[in-house]
């Protein structure tokens, strides 16, 4: 009886969350699915969802995949050296390093992307510096590379933090023991640090892959409107073409795609203990 009471109490506490979820996740999802499964006249159809197979949409999806996979890989390659370096720092310096990493996130994300536009543009800061050094200017502005730089810059902390959490938990004794048994730095990384940081790595991958797969602002600003991700097409269908059905259909297809990739990640995650960050 007592137990039942305390459960009731707890579920009562979650009611604001339930209201929030219903109002801002469940109902909008129902609306999106309703649009996605009808044509503009209101008749039932699957064609909005299968529209993702249209060559133009498919090309945008493949390009989104390329950008998302590329950004995720670059983030991983940048994160591990950083995390390993941070691991050696004492606690105070570690806090400071994390603070520096998170600091840019206090500023609006669109402003930071706009700053990259200024850096990468033809007469921008990067080319100004290159010219000063007597080097050839680079034409990065409005290319896939520019979009990827923007994504990596924006999402890097989401990769570093979970990996750092996982790596920081590794017992120093294990590494000492490995060293005693004659393991070199590379072996330690391969046999100890990498396997033990997998849960962090996986949640990092999801947190970088999903937003870069679905983003449209970064590609709009740094791609100069010449390149389009699926997100750009969806945005255009909603705001310019007034075709909410197609926009919703493509959103649902994208959602399915993201869920599949997440399920893939989760499957591998069960072996580890799973990171609580997302």
């Amino acid at each position: 009886m007592n137990k039942l009471k305390s459960i009731n109490k707890r579920s009562w506490l979650s009611s604001p969350y339930i209201v929030w979820i219903i109002g801002f996740t469940v109902i909008p999802m129902i609306v999106i699915f309703r649009y996605a499964l009808t044509n503009p006249d209101g008749g039932f159809t699957f064609s909005q969802i299968t529209a993702i197979l249209d060559p133009v949409h498919l090309r945008a999806l493949v390009f989104s995949l390329e950008i998302a996979v590329g950004s995720t890989l670059v983030c991983i390659l940048l994160s591990y050296p950083l995390v390993l370096a941070m691991r050696r720092l004492n606690l105070g310096k570690q806090g400071f390093a994390l603070f520096i990493l998170i600091l840019p996130m206090w500023m609006n994300f669109i402003l930071r992307v706009l700053a990259w536009q200024m850096i990468l543009s033809k007469n921008g800061i990067l080319n100004f510096v290159l010219k000063g050094l007597g080097l050839e200017p680079l034409a990065i502005a409005n290319t896939g590379t520019a979009i990827m730089i923007g994504m990596v810059y924006d999402y890097l902390p989401y990769m570093v933090l979970p990996i750092f959490n996982a790596v920081a938990e590794i017992d120093e004794d294990i590494i000492e023991a490995a060293k005693d048994l004659g393991a070199g730095g590379l072996t330690i990384f391969r046999k100890i640090i990498l396997p033990l940081s997998i849960p962090g790595l996986l949640s990092g991958i999801v947190m970088v892959f999903v937003p870069s797969m679905t983003s449209f602002v970064v590609s709009d600003i740094l791609g100069g409107g010449k390149l389009q991700l699926v997100g750009n097409i969806i945005e255009q269908e909603f705001t310019k073409n007034m075709n909410w059905n197609l926009g919703s259909g493509l959103s649902v297809s994208l959602m399915i795609f993201v869920l599949i990739s997440m399920a893939f990640t989760m499957k591998h995650d069960v072996e580890g203990k799973g990171s609580a960050i997302w």
């Binding site: 133009v56 949409h57 090309r59 945008a60 543009s121 033809k122 007469n123 921008g124 034409a139 502005a141 409005n142 100069g224 409107g225 010449k226 390149l227 389009q228 750009n232 097409i233 255009q236 705001t239 310019k240 073409n241 007034m242 075709n243």
Partner: protein, 354 residues
């Protein structure tokens, strides 16, 4: 008990004073009513709204949108009942056709004659009998270019398509504006419903894409000002500001003709107090008010009284007062057939996917 009464008395007195203040401190005017006005961002001098309240006692609730499409979506969502709105030619046409605007008696407006005949004629493209809309600002679409980078005088759209300024061109990130240029370059009407003509224009844009640095909207001007690009497709109002920032820039409306755009006011069907709405429209046409808005926005005004009061130099500036010559071959954008719009949307996506 006495103490308590005294406290209540003080509170009542305070409340009374505050009441007097909120009604009395706002000036001589008493609030007689209110209008909900829907306009583009930064498209009206805020001081005009205060003056309107001072003179008429009508409070304006002001709402903003960024693009015609956003305005349409917000309007249709119906969360706010707008009394008046200012939108662009083709969007007004859509609203008129859907019966969203109500007929207004333009002759009853004292200051309507300040608006030149030419602009009422432009309006006829989407409002055939001048029954629904009052012109507010207008302009052309043309090429803003950097004289230090473009050697030959620019007078034709050809300069954007002949490949001689590869990587130096900025087009508008809007299907209609960019497609209009290609149609005009080929000598077609920008309001064509002919699929063949549209496909030809698309092929031209497809070939041009390699030479285009970017498709932008508001930043198009800034990129030329900053020297990142040599030529950009811009609205005349943007070109005026561009020339202010960088004196090396020049603006031209190519001889093949271009798009004339017109932003006008209309009264929605939801408007309960037509008299107040008309008062507001009339107020906007008054010379001093139109002058204030002109100096705030610096787009071309259809208000002849304001144009006459301009300095010699300003009147000669084609970005402020487009010449008859420049607008001779120009057209106002009107709604195309739904199938054509769909085709254009498809082609636009294809162009971006290339």
């Amino acid at each position: 008990m006495i103490m308590k009464k005294r406290v209540v008395g003080v509170v009542l007195l305070l409340a009374l004073c505050m009441g007097i203040c909120t009604t009395g401190c706002s000036g001589a005017q008493e609030k007689k009513g209110s209008l909900t006005v829907f306009n583009y961002g930064e498209y009206l001098d805020p001081a005009v709204l205060d003056m309107f309240f001072e003179e008429t006692g009508i409070e304006v609730k002001y709402e903003e949108a960024l693009t015609p499409e956003e305005m349409y979506t917000k309007y249709k969502a119906g969360a706010i009942e707008y009394d008046l709105l200012c939108s662009t030619d083709y969007m007004l046409e859509k609203l008129i056709k859907e019966g969203e605007l109500q007929e207004i008696d333009i002759d009853s407006m004292e200051n309507a004659e300040n608006i030149g005949d030419k602009y009422w004629e432009f309006s006829e493209a989407f409002d055939p009998d001048n029954q629904y809309t009052v012109p507010y600002f207008w302009g052309t679409v043309g090429i803003l270019y950097d004289k230090t980078k473009v050697n030959d005088p620019v007078d034709s759209w050809g300069v954007l398509f002949d490949g001689s300024y590869s990587g130096e061109i900025i087009m508008q990130n809007s299907m209609r504006d960019t497609l209009s240029v290609a149609l005009k370059a080929l000598g077609f009407s920008l309001n064509t419903n002919d699929e063949n003509e549209i496909r030809q224009a698309y092929e031209l844009l497809e070939k041009q894409k390699a030479d285009v640095q970017a498709y932008l909207v508001d930043e198009a001007r800034d990129e030329v000002v900053a020297g990142n690009a040599a030529l950009a497709l811009v609205y005349s109002g943007e070109a005026y500001l561009g020339k202010e920032y960088n004196p090396d820039l020049e603006y031209v409306v190519p001889k093949e003709g271009s798009q004339v755009w017109l932003d006008s006011w209309g009264v929605t069907k939801n408007c309960k107090n037509l008299e107040m709405a008309m008062q507001f429209l009339d107020f906007l046409c008054r010379e001093d008010i139109a002058q204030m808005n002109f100096e705030y926005i610096y787009y071309s005004t259809p208000n002849d009284a304001v144009i006459e009061a301009l300095s010699e130099e300003e009147r000669a500036d084609e970005t402020l007062v487009p010449t008859e010559n420049a607008t001779e071959n120009c057209e106002v954008c009107v709604q195309q057939e739904p199938e054509v719009v769909e085709l254009e949307n498809e082609l636009w996506k294809e162009l971006k996917a290339e």
